[in-house]
């Protein structure tokens, strides 16, 4: 998985690309790192460039949600398509994280 970041006055936006899976745990720390330094109240995870997510990847989204919550940052996941969307829906991650379609 690779990611790009950009900041707007209200939110930090991270766009994930490729596959988000078991082997990407180290990259998660980089993203949590962005959460730690941001002053913005919003944090957007854009999945439109993601082709695949496995259960470990879904776990990473849950970790991001908790990290955001503990810092009073509002996390939004958006842009999930195809198999990624399907995996998120199957696991009902939307009951825990705000998912914008």
């Amino acid at each position: 998985m690779k990611f790009q970041q950009r900041s707007t006055p209200d939110a930090v936006e991270v766009r994930l690309m490729g596959r988000l899976e078991f082997t990407d745990h180290d990259r998660l720390h980089d993203i949590v790192g962005l959460l730690e330094i941001t002053r913005a109240r919003g944090f957007v995870v854009d999945l439109s460039g993601l082709e695949f997510i496995d259960s470990a990847g879904l776990g990473m989204l849950l970790i991001l949600q908790e990290e955001a919550e503990s810092r009073n940052v509002k996390l939004t996941v958006r842009g999930a398509q195809g198999d990624v969307r399907r995996s998120i829906d199957l696991a009902r991650i939307g009951e825990i994280i705000t998912i914008d379609s």
Partner: protein
């Protein structure tokens, strides 16, 4: 990092008594006390077997057997393949150094001996050997423990004899396949006779794989015993399990699950699911994917599950599997994918009506890269016609 070399053993092989003495003096000053001597290559080889050195300081030109021959002989023996051998050579002789390396030498010390350089090179080789041996014994220990843990993990699953007994009792055909992607895995499944007409089936997949996920399957096994299944709906049971898992699982770890109860008296399958891959239900000629969406277990205390009921009469079947079946692919084949599962089952049924799991696994393994990138569990549950 400076290691103590006090317990290291060094063999000095040199035909010149003065050289033997001065080398010994130098390395004793480095803290090495166990030193043995040999006067030629042949005596050197015998001493290696008796003395079991950690390092050999070896002269090249010697009577009976020279140093090059002794080193080549050592290297042919698997036991001494890694034994550090330091040749003493004149530093300016490029050709001789090449011959020493070709014979299997690890390094050189220059002649005449310079104490500082000699100690530094000896120490370097001995430390490397120590680290290597430590790592090798650590690895051996971990492998031993993993293999025990693997046996323990397999003991959590229904064994063949039990499956046969349950299948007999309820008039079923039960086949299962379980494979972890490494020594240990995060998959689990079980079959639970509830009474004379009802039997429960559970399949659980913890996120990730390897040791962490495997520890979670042991946790799960303990929890299952704590919650009797007899007197509650599958959704209630999953809700309880979810609460208990939420207590023990760190954020980011969770499980997908399917829990179904088959009632033979009413020909009904009632189940609740927490994001498990969509099971296949077959009744008559119709094969369909069941809706198994549900918040994964252990992610939120607020999770609620719902029950669904479907007819599962004689001749019908239920096929449960973990996501590796649809997500693992190979060089030439993409992963099977969710939508192709009913067709995959249908093809296997055409090949083996009674035990389609066998052709399914053959076809699966023919297309995937091994070892698998995730754990695979597949369970075939059919009611006899």
């Amino acid at each position: 990092m400076t290691m103590s070399l006090a317990d290291c053993r060094v063999l000095i092989v040199d035909d010149n008594a003065f050289n033997r003495k001065s080398l010994a003096l130098v390395i004793r000053r480095a803290g090495i006390t166990e030193v043995a001597f040999a006067g030629d290559g042949a005596e050197g080889l015998r001493t290696v077997d008796d003395f079991r050195p950690d390092l050999v300081l070896l002269d090249v030109d010697m009577p009976v057997m020279d140093g090059l021959e002794m080193c080549r002989t050592l290297r042919r023996n698997a036991t001494h393949e890694e034994l550090p051998v330091l040749f003493q050579t004149a530093l300016d002789s490029d050709e001789e150094q090449v011959r020493c390396f070709d014979a299997g030498g690890s390094d050189f010390i220059s002649k005449p001996i310079k104490p500082g350089e000699c100690v530094a090179r000896v120490r370097h080789q001995l430390e490397k050997r120590k680290l290597f041996t430590d790592l090798a014994s650590f690895r051996a220990r971990v492998e031993r423990e993993l293999s025990h843990a693997r046996a323990m993990q397999h003991s959590l699953l229904p064994e063949g004899r039990r499956l046969t007994a349950v299948a007999e009792r309820y008039g079923l055909v039960l086949d299962a396949h379980f494979e972890t992607s490494s020594e240990l895995g995060g998959d689990f499944w079980g079959v639970y006779p509830l009474d004379d007409r009802r039997v429960g089936f559970l399949i659980v997949d913890f996120a990730g794989h390897g040791i962490t996920a495997a520890i979670n399957t042991f946790r799960l096994h303990t929890l299952i015993d704590r919650f009797p299944m007899q007197h509650m709906a599958p959704s209630q049971w999953l809700t309880q399990l979810n609460g208990a898992l939420k207590d023990v699982l760190p954020t980011g770890q969770f499980a997908t699950a399917f829990f179904g109860i088959l009632d033979l008296a009413t020909d009904t399958l009632t189940f609740a699911a927490a994001g498990a891959p969509n099971p296949v239900l077959g009744v008559g000629a119709e094969l369909r994917l069941l809706d198994s969406a549900g918040l994964v277990l252990g992610a939120s205390r607020r999770a609620r599950y719902t029950d669904q009921s479907h007819r599962l009469p004689h001749g019908g079947f239920l096929f449960l599997y973990s996501d590796a079946l649809i997500e693992c692919g190979g060089e030439e084949h993409p992963p099977i994918g969710r939508d192709a599962v009913p067709g995959f089952v249908r093809d296997a049924l055409a090949e083996n009506r009674l035990h389609p799991l066998r052709p399914m696994m053959e076809r699966f393994y023919a297309r995937v890269r091994q070892p698998l990138s995730d754990d695979l569990t597949a369970v075939w549950i059919a009611r006899r016609a």
